[in-house]
Each structure stands twice: as C-alpha cells, then as structure tokens.
C-alpha cells in the first residue's frame, strides 16, 4: 500500500518537474511547481513527518508560490522568446555532462543507503517533539533565522520600492541613449 502511494506520487512529482522544464510560459511552470510541492508533501506524510508535510503545503505551496505568481502577474511575464542562439557546443557537451551528473548523483545517494536494509516510514515525528527540539537544542539557530527573515523583509522592501526621481531620470536617459544608438 505504501509502496503504491510512493510510486504514484513520485510519478506525479517527476512529471511536474519535467513539465516545469517543458512549459514556455512561467505561470504554467509555477503551477507545475505547486503540483511537485503538493506531491512531495504526501511523500513526507509517508515518511511519518506530518509537521513537515503541513509546513510544506502552507509555506511552500501557499506562501512562496503565491509570491511567485504575484510577481509573474505583476511583471506581465509572457512566453519565453525562442532563443535562436543556443550554441551547438553547449548542447553537445552540456547534455552528456548533465546525464553523467545525474548518474553520479543517483549512485552517490543510493550507495549511501545501500548497506543498510533499514526501511523508512512509520516513525512518527509529532509536532510536540519537534517543538521541544527546536526550542531547546536549536534555539540559537532559530533566533538567527528570525533575524535573517527580518533582514530579508527590509531588503525586499528597499529593493522593490519605487525608484527615486533622480534615478528614474538617469535610467530613462540611458534607455533613450540606447535607443538613439541602435
């Protein structure tokens, strides 16, 4: 039963990841990424990690993907223009290199687990235990993360704030100059 669930959601996961690569429009890629994240949440449930599964759905599939989709809609991002200048060398060297990397990564990860026949699953990680671990053993990293999030919020506000008038004038002048040259 668990094995069947694993294979079904692993197939959905890989399918979503490949669809992310295949789609031309970013919004389709974003939606297939949501599919990948939701099926990963099921895999976490199979591994007995209920807390991580819930956080995965709420934070990843909820918050982060909403941010992505907002930005895609805000920037009115259209289809990727077909880049005509993909070099032949990049394809000839890159694709085999990617294949080699894939084989090596799968080998490294599965060889790591090859020795032990230990079976994953069923060990529950109740939120109480995780909370005790998080607020006792990992208290310092937890506080550091809160500072990190604060800095990230301030950085995002500064970066996304409207341009100052004199900067905007400079950019407009630069764009006009480019237009004049070409």
């Amino acid at each position: 039963m668990e094995l069947v669930l694993f294979w079904v959601f692993a197939a959905i996961c890989i399918g979503g990841a490949i669809n992310l690569l295949a789609q031309k429009h970013p919004i389709n890629s974003a939606l297939s990424l949501v599919v990948v994240m939701a099926s990963l949440a099921v895999e976490y449930l199979l591994l007995g990690a209920e807390f991580v599964a819930a956080v995965q759905v709420i934070i990843y599939a909820g918050a982060i993907m909403v941010l992505f989709i907002f930005v895609i809609m805000l920037l009115n991002a259209g289809e990727e223009p077909h880049g005509g200048k993909t070099s032949l060398v990049a394809k000839l060297v890159g694709l085999p290199a990617l294949g080699i990397l894939a084989v090596m990564l799968v080998w490294a990860l599965t060889a790591q687990a090859g020795g032990s026949v230990a079976v994953a699953g069923a060990e529950p990680g109740p939120p109480q235990v995780i909370a005790r671990l998080l607020f006792n053993d990992f208290l310092l990293p937890f506080e550091v993360t809160s500072v990190l999030v604060l800095i990230a919020i301030m950085g995002a506000v500064v970066l996304a704030a409207p341009l100052q008038p004199h900067h905007a004038a400079k950019i407009l002048a630069a764009q006009a100059g480019e237009g004049g040259q070409s």
Binding site: I18, L47, V52, Q56, F68, L109, A113, V119, A120
Partner: protein, 100 residues
C-alpha cells in the same frame, strides 16, 4: 514499506530536473523556480534520512531550509522586479551588463 533508496533516487531525480532547468531556461523567474525545486529535493533527502536514522533533527533542518528559501524568494523576487524595472526584460541573456 518503502526502502530509503527509493526516496533518495526521487530526490536525486528532482535535483537533476532543477539543475537542468537552471541551466536551460532563459526566463529569470523560471530559473528561480528551478532553485526552489532543488531546495525541495534536498529537503526530501533530509526527511528520508531523519526517518531512517530515527533522528528528528533532520526535520528541524528542513524547517530551517524552508525559512531560508522563503527569505531568498522574497529578496530574489524583489531583485527581479528591480531588474525588470530598469531593463524591461526577464531574459537572462539580455541582462549581461552591470552598467545600464
């Protein structure tokens, strides 16, 4: 019961998809989504090892990875907005100068 190597194989496959997207795609938002895909793949192997070793520290680490990913997404998307505002393009091939 699922052997842990299956989970690790799935994690590796997702990571490879993320690398391929990072290298092949030309839209900066899609490249960013590929990075999120790679982070998810790593999270899956964290949780798998946590289940195998009966050590919940792995799940706590997944929590930290998610927080860092959220911070990274916020800052990265703000940078994308700033780039789009000054250059009017999302194609990474056209964003190749530090100077305007």
């Amino acid at each position: 019961m699922v052997p842990i190597s299956y989970y690790l194989g799935l994690s590796a496959a997702l990571f490879i998809c993320g690398i391929a997207g990072f290298l092949l795609k030309r839209n900066i938002i899609t490249i960013f989504m590929s990075i999120e895909l790679m982070l998810n793949a790593v999270n899956l192997s964290f949780v798998a090892f946590a289940a195998q070793l009966h050590n919940l520290a792995g799940q706590v680490f997944v929590f930290f990875v998610m927080v860092v990913a959220a911070a990274e997404a916020a800052v990265g998307l703000a940078i994308i907005i700033a780039v789009y505002r000054t250059r009017n393009t999302l194609n990474v091939d056209q964003v190749d100068l530090l100077k305007l």
